[in-house]
C-alpha cells in the first residue's frame, strides 16, 4: 500500500528520456558556442588594451609637449582617474591592461610603453611616441606636486611620479 502510494506520487514530474537527451544536446551546443565566444572576447579585449595603452602614452606626450611649449613655471596635473597606473599595470583583471613601467628615453626623445604578450603566447609589444623636449627628469610626488604633475622649471621638464610608474633614462 505504502509502496503503491510512493510510486504514484513519484510517477509524476519524472524527467523523460527524451528530455534528458535534448538537454544534453542543447548543453553541448551551448558550451561549444561559449568556448568560441570566449576566444573572441579575449581577442577584442587585448586589442582594446593595446589601444588604451597607446592613448595613455599619447596623453602623457601631449602633456609634456604642452608644458614645454608654455615655458617656465607652467605645470599640468593629470589626475589618477585619467592616468591610473595601478589599474593599467594590473594584469588578469577585466580592467587591467598588463602595462609595464612607462619609460621616457631622453636621448631618442620618446616615450616607450610596453604591454605583456598575448594570452596565447608570443612576444611583448612596445610602442614609442615622440616628444619634443630632451631635458626631462622624474621626481617623487610631493604634497605640492601630486602624481602626475608635469612642471617646466625653465631648464627641464620635471615629471612628478613614482619610479614604479615612470622612469626616465
Amino acid at each position: 500500500m505504502v509502496l503503491r502510494r510512493w510510486r504514484e506520487r513519484h510517477n509524476e514530474a519524472q524527467v523523460t528520456l527524451e528530455g534528458i537527451l535534448v538537454s544534453f544536446i542543447a548543453l553541448f551546443l551551448i558550451l561549444s558556442l561559449v568556448n568560441l565566444q570566449w576566444e573572441r572576447f579575449y581577442l577584442a579585449r587585448e586589442a582594446g588594451e593595446g589601444g588604451e595603452i597607446k592613448m595613455a602614452g599619447e596623453l602623457l606626450a601631449q602633456g609634456i609637449n604642452t608644458v614645454y611649449a608654455n615655458g617656465e613655471g607652467f605645470s599640468m596635473y593629470i589626475p589618477p582617474d585619467v592616468l591610473n597606473y595601478s589599474r593599467m599595470q594590473a594584469s588578469g583583471s577585466i580592467t587591467g591592461l598588463g602595462m609595464s613601467v612607462i619609460t621616457i628615453n631622453t636621448s631618442s626623445r620618446r616615450i616607450i610603453l610596453s604591454k605583456g604578450p598575448s594570452r596565447t603566447g608570443g612576444a611583448t609589444w612596445n610602442i614609442s611616441i615622440s616628444i619634443i623636449p630632451e631635458s626631462i627628469a622624474r621626481l617623487n610626488p610631493t604634497s605640492e606636486y601630486r602624481e602626475t604633475t608635469i612642471y617646466n622649471n625653465g631648464t627641464s621638464i620635471i615629471i612628478y611620479a613614482s619610479s614604479g610608474n615612470i622612469k626616465v633614462v
Binding site: 586589442a47 594570452r119 603566447g121 612596445n126
Partner: protein
C-alpha cells in the same frame, strides 16, 4: 500491468536512438576532421586580426630595429585561405597552408616583410594555442591530430 505501461520508452524511439547513435559513431572521425579544420581556420583568422590590429597601431616587438617600426595605419585582413599541400609522408597527416591576405595603405609598403611576419606569427600562435596550449615561440608548423598547418601572409598596398 497498467502501472507498467506508463513511462515506457517506445520501440520506435529505441530504434531511432540506436540509428542516430550508429550514424554519429560512424561519422565521428569525419566530423572530427572537419571540426579540426574549422577550428584552425577560425583561430588563424583571430590571430591574424590580433597581429594586424597591434601592427596597425604601430606596436612593435622587442628587438625590432627602429627602421622596421611602422607608423600607424589600417591593416585589413581581406582573405584567409586553406591551400592543400598534399600528405606528409613521415606523419601521414594532410598538409595545409593557411594563407592570409592583408591590404595596407601605400605608405606602409616598405614595412611589408615585418608586417607579414607579425600576422603570420600571430596566426601560428593562435592555431597552436587552439590545439596545444600556450605558444612558446618558434616558426615550426602546427601539428594537430589529422593535419599539419603552415602559414603565409601576403600584403598588398594601395591607396592611403
Amino acid at each position: 500491468m497498467r502501472r507498467d505501461a506508463k513511462g515506457q520508452v517506445a520501440l520506435e524511439f529505441i530504434i531511432i536512438v540506436g540509428l542516430v547513435t550508429l550514424i554519429v559513431v560512424t561519422a565521428y572521425p569525419v566530423l572530427q576532421k572537419q571540426i579540426e579544420l574549422n577550428k584552425a581556420l577560425t583561430a588563424a583568422r583571430d590571430g591574424a586580426a590580433y597581429g594586424a590590429s597591434f601592427r596597425g597601431m604601430s606596436y612593435y616587438t622587442s628587438g625590432t630595429s627602429p627602421a622596421n617600426r611602422n607608423p600607424p595605419g589600417v591593416l585589413k585582413i581581406t582573405k584567409v585561405t586553406l591551400i592543400p599541400q598534399g600528405v606528409e609522408e613521415a606523419s601521414g597527416k594532410t598538409m595545409y597552408q593557411i594563407r592570409i591576405d592583408v591590404r595596407a595603405p601605400n605608405y606602409l609598403s616598405s614595412y611589408e616583410n615585418t608586417i607579414e611576419a607579425s600576422i603570420r606569427n600571430y596566426a601560428r600562435s593562435y592555431v597552436y594555442n587552439a590545439f596545444n596550449g600556450r605558444y612558446q615561440g618558434g616558426f615550426s608548423p602546427v601539428y594537430t591530430n589529422y593535419y599539419k598547418f603552415t602559414f603565409s601572409a601576403n600584403m598588398t598596398s594601395g591607396g592611403g
